[in-house]
Amino acid sequence: MMVERDSSATEQARGEDPEARRKATPGVPTGIEGLDFILDGGIPAGQPTLLRGGPGSGKTAIALTFFCYGLGQGEPSVLATFDESPEALTRHAEALGFPLRQYLDQGQGRILDMRPDRSELIAGEALELTALLARIGHALDALGANRLVLDAIDGMDESFRLDNSLRAELTRVFEWIRERDTTTLITSGEETDFSRRYGLEEYIADCVILLKQELKQRRMTRLLRILKRRGGGHGTNEFPFLLDQEGVFLSPVTGTRLEARPSSERHSTGIAGLDTMLGGGGPYRGSALMLSGQSGTGKTTFAAAFADAACRAGDQVLYLSFEEATEELLRNQRSVGLELSEHLEPHGSGRLVFEPLLAVELGWEEHLLRVMRAVQSQQPAVVVLDPASALGDPSEDQQGKEMLLRLFYMLKRQGVTVLATELLPDYSGGVSTMDVSSIIDVWIKLIRAEDDGNLHRLLNLVKARGLPTSDEIQEFYLTADGVRITEPSRKGRQY
């Protein structure tokens, strides 16, 4: 019988050094790239993993992603629900973009309704959960499935609250999962303290993932943390993640290794004088550029000229605008002779993708995660962040700076050229507040100077790694034909 223990096989497996056995445990991908990364490949194969979080923390979305990812890979999978109806779960999965109904109709996957019957009366002791195992086992066998989700297992508490044998029975369920060698994701809520009361975390589960929501600076952030992972490494940090109609997104952690091969190819900046200052060819492909300047110095015009030149060279550009809407930016750049619409769909080449991210209610993490997700899905050669300083004031938020560094690292690792503009507040005295200079290859400062009733715009190439650079401050003009750079009108001025 499927629910009986094959004790000889178990003994044999237990006979080995259990730690050695677990060390070899490979990970089964959940379909959430960032999560699989921090879990060293995924949740432990053939073992139970507990995913714990309060209401709305995203545990069912993650469980559904695991379930549907398996189905999408042609892996038969079973989900047993203890709380929501199978129909509600199917709709939830569809809202996340998975064709779950289709998978179910094709017989690849099965949802078992394990919701307790509220009218059921308990008379006497000695409840056994063998029936539950028999049902799950039957479904797994029928499909040949090896991927299992038990969603909201704490729902069981309601039906068997009075029974003190539940702990022993639950232990048996977990043991059974291990013996069947079924990779299982079990979700549990926080309200009833279920997982702690029954010792699921401390003793029974091989891997424990905690989800929570935190209010930071009046913004809600979703966080994920790996509490435990037997037989595998795991990060110990809290990782912010996104959960919306595009699914669950956790930023892949890049660490400090830079993997992109340095390129000797150059990008034109779209401004002849600036290319000349950078040794004639413009910046290297895959480098990080920052343009800092006070308001009105023309940062966006430089960024737009660069995006235009890259599109003309045949590169895909993702332009993330944090302050201007698309139409606004197109109109403003027309005044300096740039027609960006020819690179935009539906009438243009489609090389330029413009994404205004104006929502001020988004927190740092959410902003950056959205950027990372857009980069991953569009695979651009060039990313423009205009202005990156809109992502938050890093002087007040250490985590913001770290996230921005992480974004730069991620882009560099993938060999993406990134151009970030930085708005220097007037009180800054022209000093950068972003403090990301260690990762910046080319740093250009734009300066506004007034004298004798005239406004001068000046350009200072502060840093350009690996490029022959001009060390003179140049003057530039914003003309109807774009940016024109000239020798400064007066020498010897102090800026």
Binding site: M1, M2, V3, L112, D113, M114, R115, P116, D117, S119, E120, L121, I122, A123, G124, E125, A126, L127, E128, L129, T130, A131, L132, A134, R135, G137, H138, A139, M156, S159, F160
Partner: protein
């Protein structure tokens, strides 16, 4: 007989609890209805027929389901608490 009650007792293997539930239920029905011919009781081992456990959405065993007369009633456990079983199944005690 139209009033003849139809009951299914689902067990998962011959466990001590299953044996107690069978014994308790048979005694109770015998007391309530007299001889075995006046009620319809079938014991189903879901280890042999797991699809039935799925169809009936059974979570825990032993569980007795009274199919007829309506309404359908379910009582789970070893059925040692006689009064609770009678109330739960909506059967009259004679």
């Amino acid at each position: 007989m139209s009033e003849q009650p139809v009951l299914r007792l689902y067990i998962a293997g011959r466990t001590p609890a299953a044996d107690r539930a069978i014994r308790n239920l048979e005694e109770l029905l015998k007391d309530a209805y007299g001889d075995e011919a006046s009620y319809d009781l079938e014991v189903v081992d879901i280890l042999e027929r797991p699809q039935l456990a799925e169809d009936e959405r059974i979570l825990a065993t032993p569980v007795v389901i009274k199919k007829l007369p309506p309404p359908v009633r379910r009582v789970v456990g070893d059925l040692s608490e006689r009064e609770k079983v009678l109330v739960g199944l909506d059967l009259q005690d004679s």
